[in-house]
């Protein structure tokens, strides 16, 4: 067992787990954050995408021993908490409006890949958006509405 301390969506957490446990399992099983999904467990699908120190990673490929002292952002951290309850961030809102989610399995990962794309200054450019989500597979939407949603959010918040 290893004690690992890190930040999740701004809050400090501490877990006592085997060092090779996947970040995905720590989030879902140990911390109860079930937003990140396991699609393939081998880096192909991106359903488990989270942001680690400002970079997108597949949390199924990250052992928790490498997360000590680092900053993790998951889909649970996107909505802003206000006095009137949580308010969706502009990407989540755009996915709702554009029909960017169907079954929803890919959505948390898509949102985090898109979040990082926008945070890095990405704009409403089709090719750039498709490159940013190239590591995220969707079996339902055909991608067009996802790309539209990201472009919409990028235009709202240039």
């Amino acid at each position: 067992m290893t004690t690992v301390r890190f930040l999740v969506n701004g809050a400090p957490v501490e877990v006592d787990v085997p060092g090779m446990r996947r970040l995905l399992d720590v989030l879902r099983e140990d911390l109860g954050l079930t937003g990140a999904k396991e699609g393939c467990g081998e880096g192909e699908c991106g359903a488990c995408t989270v942001i680690l120190d400002g970079e997108v990673v597949d949390s199924c490929l990250v052992p928790i021993c490498q997360v000590e002292g680092r900053i993790v952002r998951t889909v649970e951290g996107l909505a802003r908490r206000t006095g009137d309850g949580p308010v969706l961030d502009e990407l989540q809102q755009a996915f709702l409006e554009a029909g960017g989610a169907q079954c929803g399995i890919c959505t948390p990962g898509m949102l985090m890949a898109a979040r990082q794309y926008l945070d890095a200054g990405g704009g409403p450019d089709d090719v750039a958006i498709r490159t940013a989500i190239a590591g995220n597979l969707c079996r339902c939407t055909g991608y067009t509405k996802i790309v539209e949603a990201i472009a919409q959010a990028a235009s709202v918040h240039p």
Partner: protein, 285 residues
């Protein structure tokens, strides 16, 4: 949940050397190959793991007198962002940009690609074509292995069980040009069907090319140099006739296999076509 073998995270290289000399440990760098192995779906599950992430000696990209030194823990993203690599090793930057997608590029390392020893490893032909040297270390000290001698058989390397890859030295050769091509199923996240790197020195109009290197991946149990084709190009100019001869020799020499990703015939034809294109672009015809 996948297996969770014990893992040690040494803070210094000396500690890491001592640990893996006492008992064999499988290193983990970015984990993009190793974390798939602990699911048990791809080969055996390692018994003990040593985490390299704290070994800062294995980080950084620097310009030495006549070489670029790339720390084994440099990720594909590090390589793509490095001003040194962009200026001096554009073919390696290009190769890094074709690996996986952003999630893989942010985590996967050059040292991991080398040690993993997949015949389809995308950077490996580039390292061979650029005469790169792999610097490895253990309790016994450091030694340097030319890239061309590093991959000894299908997924085997010249690395001893208690050695780590420390860095990769790529010599800077005046006037050297290197070209990289990858053919896969789609642009992102695709394992190569054919991957090629060709380099040469061009001394101007009168004399032909020298120090020609033709390296391929996904065509044999290891990444390979194709010396018969190099011999045709050495001292020659990239004319249509030379290109035809070189491509025909390549097709006659390579003996790829049929597998789930491609057929041998397809690989051989595409490999020859890729070389022909590189020579055509170089010749400007």
């Amino acid at each position: 949940m996948p297996a969770e073998p014990p893992v040690a995270s040494p803070a210094t290289l000396a500690d890491a050397y001592a640990l893996i000399q006492r008992e064999p440990h499988t290193p983990i760098a970015g984990g993009t190959d190793l974390m798939v192995r602990i699911t048990g779906e791809l080969g055996s599950i390692p018994e003990r793991i040593v985490d390299l992430a704290r070994l800062d000696d294995l980080r950084g990209i620097s310009l030495e007198r006549s070489a670029v030194a790339i720390g084994a823990l440099s990720s594909y993203t590090d390589i793509r962002r490095s001003a040194i690599c962009r200026e001096h090793l554009p073919a390696l930057v290009e190769a890094a940009a074709t690996v996986g997608a952003a999630q893989i590029q942010n985590r996967g390392t050059l040292g991991g690609n080398i040690a993993n020893a997949s015949p389809a490893g995308d950077t490996l032909p580039v390292l061979i074509a650029m005469d790169a040297a792999i610097v490895v270390g253990s309790v016994r000290g450091e030694r340097t292995i030319p890239a061309d001698d590093f991959w000894t058989g299908y997924r085997t390397t010249a690395l001893a069980p208690d050695e780590l890859i420390l860095r990769i030295r790529v010599p800077l050769v005046p006037g050297r040009e290197t070209r990289f091509r990858k053919v896969g199923t789609r642009r992102a996240q695709a394992i190569s069907k054919v991957v090629a790197a060709v380099s040469w020195r061009d001394h101007g109009r009168s004399s032909g090319w020298t120090q020609v290197r033709v390296a391929y991946g996904s065509m044999a149990p290891t990444p390979i140099r194709v010396r018969q084709v190099e011999a045709i190009l050495e001292g020659a100019h990239p004319t249509p006739e030379t290109a035809d001869k070189a491509a025909a020799m390549l097709a006659a020499t390579l003996q790829p296999i049929d597998d789930v990703r491609s057929t041998a015939d397809y690989r051989r034809m595409v490999a020859a076509r890729v070389l022909h294109r590189i020579l055509r672009d170089a010749g400007g015809w």
